[in-house]
C-alpha cells in the first residue's frame, strides 16, 4: 500500500485516497478538431517513468492535489497543490506536461 502525503493532512495510507488520473490537463474549447477532442477525452499519459497525477484525499480533507510518482518503482518524488507548476517542469521542457 502506498504512503501518500496529503499537502493539507500529512502522510496517510493509500486507502484514504482516490486516484484522479493524469494531472495538468486543460479542457479545450469547442473550436478544436475531432482529433484534439478525442485526445482530451481518451488519451492519457501512460509514462514508464515519472508521471504527474492527481489524488483526492477522499476520506480525509476531501481536497485534490498533485503528485509526481515514478511508475517503474511507485516511489513518490513530490506532492504539490492544484494550480502549482509541475516541480520538475524545467527538466521536462519541450515535452509538454
Amino acid at each position: 500500500m502506498l504512503l501518500i502525503e496529503c499537502p493539507y493532512c500529512g502522510p496517510r495510507a493509500e486507502i484514504e485516497f482516490s486516484y484522479g488520473g493524469e494531472a495538468h490537463i486543460d479542457r479545450p474549447g469547442p473550436e478544436v478538431s475531432e482529433e484534439e477532442w478525442a485526445s482530451f477525452l481518451y488519451l492519457r499519459e501512460n509514462t514508464k517513468g515519472v508521471l504527474a497525477e492527481r489524488w483526492r484525499h477522499a476520506h480525509g480533507c476531501g481536497r485534490f492535489f498533485n503528485a509526481l510518482r515514478d511508475t517503474r518503482t511507485d516511489e513518490f518524488k513530490a506532492f504539490y497543490e492544484m494550480g502549482e507548476k509541475r516541480p520538475d517542469a524545467e527538466k521536462k521542457e519541450g515535452e509538454g506536461a
Binding site: 502506498l2 482516490s18 475531432e34 478525442a38 508521471l51 511508475t71 517503474r72
Partner: protein, 417 residues
C-alpha cells in the same frame, strides 16, 4: 517435431524418457524476416503460428524481451468465457472460445481446456436485471448462457453460501456451461512448439529498442538488444508495454496500465467444480488441476509498471470469498503476484492496423486477454497478412475513440476492474 500420443509416451517410457527433444528451436536472430511479432506471450506466439499455418508465411520471428510467456500469460487466472454483452465483443470472444474447443487436437498439445462452466453471481436487484439482459443478449447472438435461481446455483456449485443473511446474498446467477479454464503455460508452449516446427524463429532475451522506418514512413524493421532486424511487417503484441513500443514509432495509444493481482491457495482435493465470479463483491475463483484455489483480485487504481500492488486489494477479495464460500476460510494462501494490464477507456481491445504502414497492434486486453488468446492471435495474423482487418476485429480500431464508435464493455464485463 516429436508427436505426442499414447504410443510415443509408451515408447519414451521404454527408453527411460531420455529420448525427448526440446520442443522449440533456440535460435539467434537472422538479419531479416517477412514478419516480426514483438512479444512472446500467448497472443504473440499464436499470431506467429496462424501466420505460418493459415497465411503461408514461414519466415517469421517472435522477439521477446524476457522469457517465453513470462508476462501476463503466466500471471492470469485462466478463465475462458464468451458471455459479453455487445455483438462486436461476443463475436470476438466466441471466435476464441470455438478455437479453444479444438486447440489441443490442432496443436497436438494438451492445453487442458476444461469446460466446467462459469457461474456469475447476482447480489442486488440491479445485478439480476443486468445479468438477465446478458443472458438474453447472448442467446440472441447464439451464445449459451442461462439464468439460475440461488438453489439451482448451489446445486451446480455446492460450496456456495446462499444464506439470505449474508451482507450480499446470492439472488441468482447466470451460467455459461461452455466457459471454463485452461492451462496458461501449455497454451504458450503449444503455440511455440507448433510455430517453431513450421520455421518460426522464437528469440528470447531480445528487447525491441526502436522501430525503423523509411523516408515514406513505412516500417523497415526493429532495433533490438541483439542487433537490428529487418522486416516490412511488424506486429506488436506487447500487453503492458504496448504504449512503450508503439511510442517508438510516435504513436500514442488510448491505454493506461494498472497492476492486477492474483493469488493461489495451498492445493487441496477437488472441492470447487466450476468458475465463480462476482462483480458486486469483486471475487473470482476456480480450482486448478493441481488443487490450488486460483483467486483473482482487483486492479490497483493507479498507473504502474511494477507488476505488484497493495495488499489491501487482495484482502478485499478474500473477505468477499470467505463470506461467499465459508468452507475456504481456513485455506492458507501460498503465493500472490501481479501483472500490468493495458486498459482502454471502453475496456475493449484493439486489434488493428496503425497509422504507420506495416505496423500492426494487438493490445488493450486489460484484465481479460487470456480467454481471447487463440481468437486474437488468429485475427491479428489475418490483419497482418492481408493488411486489412477480418470482419470480426474490424470494429476494434484505434480510431473508434475519435469516431465515437466505442464498444463500451466497461460497464458490461463480468467483473468491474
Amino acid at each position: 517435431m516429436q508427436k505426442f500420443s499414447a504410443f510415443s509416451l509408451a515408447r519414451q517410457a521404454l527408453g527411460r524418457h531420455l529420448g525427448w527433444t526440446p520442443q522449440w528451436r533456440s535460435v539467434a536472430p537472422k538479419p531479416s524476416y517477412d514478419a516480426i511479432i514483438v512479444g512472446g506471450g500467448g497472443h504473440g506466439l499464436g499470431t506467429a503460428y496462424y501466420l505460418a499455418k493459415q497465411h503461408g508465411l514461414r519466415n517469421i520471428a517472435v522477439v521477446e524481451k524476457g522469457w517465453l510467456a513470462g508476462g501476463n500469460t503466466a500471471r492470469n487466472t485462466t478463465i475462458i468465457r464468451s458471455n459479453y454483452l455487445f455483438e462486436q465483443s461476443s463475436s470476438y470472444y466466441e471466435h476464441a472460445l470455438k478455437l479453444w474447443e479444438t486447440l489441443s487436437e490442432e496443436l497436438n498439445y494438451n492445453v487442458m481446456f476444461s469446460q466446467r462452466g462459469c457461474l456469475m453471481i447476482a447480489h442486488t436487484v440491479h445485478d439480476v436485471q443486468v445479468f438477465k439482459r446478458h443472458v438474453y443478449a447472448n442467446r440472441l447472438n447464439g451464445i449459451d448462457n442461462e439464468w439460475m435461481t440461488p438453489e439451482e446455483a448451489k446445486a451446480f456449485c455446492p460450496p456456495l453460501n446462499i444464506s439470505p443473511n449474508i451482507r450480499y446474498p446470492v439472488l441468482g446467477a447466470s451460467l455459461q456451461r461452455r466457459a471454463g479454464t485452461a492451462r496458461h503455460d501449455a497454451v504458450a508452449w503449444g503455440f511455440a512448439r507448433a510455430a517453431s516446427d513450421m520455421g518460426v524463429d522464437i528469440i528470447e532475451n531480445c528487447e525491441v529498442t526502436g522501430i525503423d522506418r523509411d523516408a515514406a514512413g513505412n516500417v523497415t524493421g526493429v532495433q533490438t538488444t541483439r542487433g537490428p532486424i529487418r522486416s516490412k511487417k511488424v506486429g506488436v503484441s506487447a500487453a503492458g508495454h504496448s504504449s512503450v513500443v508503439l511510442g517508438m514509432a510516435g504513436i500514442r495509444l488510448p491505454l493506461q496500465v494498472n497492476p492486477l493481482q492474483a493469488l493461489v491457495s495451498e492445493p487441496v482435493k477437488p472441492a470447487f467444480p466450476c468458475v465463480v465470479m462476482s462483480n458486486t463483491i469483486h471475487a473470482y475463483i476456480s480450482q486448478s488441476d493441481k488443487g490450488e484455489m486460483v483467486i483473482g483480485a482487483g486492479t490497483d487504481s493507479y498507473v504502474s509498471y511494477t507488476q505488484r500492488g497493495g495488499m489491501h486489494v487482495p484482502a478485499h477479495t478474500l473477505e468477499a470469498i470467505c463470506e461467499l464460500v465459508p468452507d475456504f476460510r481456513r485455506l492458507r494462501m501460498l503465493r500472490s503476484w501481479g501483472g500490468i494490464t493495458d486498459n482502454t477507456p471502453d475496456r475493449s481491445p484493439i486489434t488493428a492496423k496503425t497509422s504507420v504502414p506495416g505496423l500492426y497492434v494487438n493490445c488493450g486486453w486489460g484484465t481479460g486477454g487470456f480467454k481471447a488468446t487463440p481468437g486474437a492471435a488468429n485475427l491479428f495474423a489475418w490483419t497482418i497478412a492481408r493488411d486489412e482487418p477480418h470482419p470480426i476485429n474490424a470494429p476494434f480500431t484505434i480510431e473508434r475513440f475519435r469516431d465515437g464508435a466505442l464498444i463500451d464493455e466497461a460497464a458490461a464485463a463480468a467483473v468491474a476492474h
